[in-house]
Amino acid sequence: AQSVTQPDIHITVSEGASLELRCNYSYGATPYLFWYVQSPGQGLQLLLKYFSGDTLVQGIKGFEAEFKRSQSSFNLRKPSVHWSDAAEYFCAVGAGRLSFGNEKLTFGTGTRLTIIP
């Protein structure tokens, strides 16, 4: 069964500093990987996704993530955070079957990001 681990429950970063949120997954084949962001009381917004190809993917709001198969990781990074980045971040894995789109997503427990001035 697929699973996702986000080892950091809460991270505090100064505005303007760099950010890295960790995500490790477990899946037997090449997975589909996603990062979603959830602001308080809001739904889930997709930041970026990895399906195949280039292991460094760019997303919205200046975020990027790197897929490292050898480490089963898909860490999210941003070079300089803004106060508006404060939110909950979820890593998710979907089974990478190529012929179907109806794959459930398995989410990590999330990392809450706090930005200090």
Binding site: L46, F90, G101, N102, K104, L105, G108
Partner: protein, 115 residues
């Protein structure tokens, strides 16, 4: 930009009552999902739906739950007899199913409170 919508945004109900949560997926999407998030916990998959039938369901999705696509636009989740532990945020999602764009778009959620 097209988006998934959900109604109501907040539903309060008494234990044992039936509730129906409604979702309007993005119009050209073919796959539909329900997830839930108990307060402070991770998002959990409930069920996926394609071609008018359930594709996959989790162990959470027991006989008290059902899904339906009653017309060409709505996708509903019914809980027949709510329990206190059903209190959660319920998210609907949809996707095209295309390999090249297999991402799920989430609605804003319905917060269900069972008293």
């Amino acid at each position: 930009e097209p988006e998934v919508t959900q109604t109501p945004s907040h539903q309060v109900t008494q234990m044992g009552q039936e509730v129906i949560l409604r979702c309007v997926p993005i119009s050209n999407h073919l796959y539909f999902y329900w997830y839930r998030q108990i307060l402070g916990q991770k998002v959990e998959f409930l069920v996926s739906f394609y071609n008018n039938e359930i594709s996959e369901k989790s162990e959470i999705f027991d006989d008290q739950f059902s899904v339906e696509r009653p017309d060409g636009s709505n996708f509903t989740l019914k809980i027949r007899s709510t329990k206190l532990e059903d209190s959660a945020m319920y998210f609907c999602a949809s996707s095209t199913g295309l390999v090249t764009s297999n991402e799920q778009f989430f609605g804003p959620g319905t917060r269900l409170t069972v008293l």
